[in-house]
Amino acid sequence: MSITPTIKVQSDDFDAGAELAALNATDGQTGAVASFIGLVRGDDGLAALTLEHYPGMTEKQLRAIADQAAARWPLSAITLIHRHGRLPVGAQIVFVATASAHRRAAFEACEFLMDWLKTKAPFWKQEQWADGSSRWVEAKSSDDDAADRWHIPADGGGNGRA
């Protein structure tokens, strides 16, 4: 069964409940829906994050990531939503949901998609602090490690995280 992932890259907020309801509108073969929401955490005086992205490449990359998940797990639906722009503390950043007959596939695919988004999707976070200063967030090697555990062969997307 070939599925058509739902991919949205937007500055607007999203309604996770409505997205889940759409996934649940089932063919009767879905027994498990795993989902993830990423939020802006208010660490020590952080006021907001501003997310820059690479229009054109972003949606392409999200679609490639979703297709990899669909090839690897028996999924009946995938939804990926990623916001850009200024997002205050508490705001939703990202939504990933995966539907499958069984829970293990849904959970694994959902984690895979998050790990892969963190290392492949062309977004950059800038922290806006309460004192008016700002700082680009640095990539974490723990995110590379998380993505590496899925053992995806280098896809020309190689370079490297040196």
């Binding site: 988004l117 680009w136 640095e138 995280r161």
Partner: protein, 84 residues
């Protein structure tokens, strides 16, 4: 002619989000292009100073710096991504 894009702190250092460039004949790889761009201004030199912390995409696909440019229409330079 190649369209070159810069993101995140590379953009603030080069002072531009994108530009059209015509690299000379000796520029074969993405790394060659970055080295040639460094010579175009002090901002470019600063942005592209440490290629170990820079990632690239050719025509919107992640590539290694040693990939050939081929007939690329669009090359992007950026720091490691921090989405999700």
């Amino acid at each position: 002619m190649v369209q070159v894009l810069y993101f995140a702190w590379l953009k603030s250092r080069t002072g531009c989000a994108e530009e059209q460039v015509s690299p000379p004949a000796g520029v074969h790889t993405v790394r060659d292009l970055a080295c040639w761009l460094r010579e175009q201004s002090s901002g470019h030199a600063e942005a592209l100073a440490d290629l170990a912390v820079i990632r690239a995409a050719v025509d919107q696909e992640h590539v290694s710096l040693d990939s050939p440019l081929g007939d690329a229409r669009e090359v992007a330079f950026f720091p490691p991504v921090t989405g999700g």
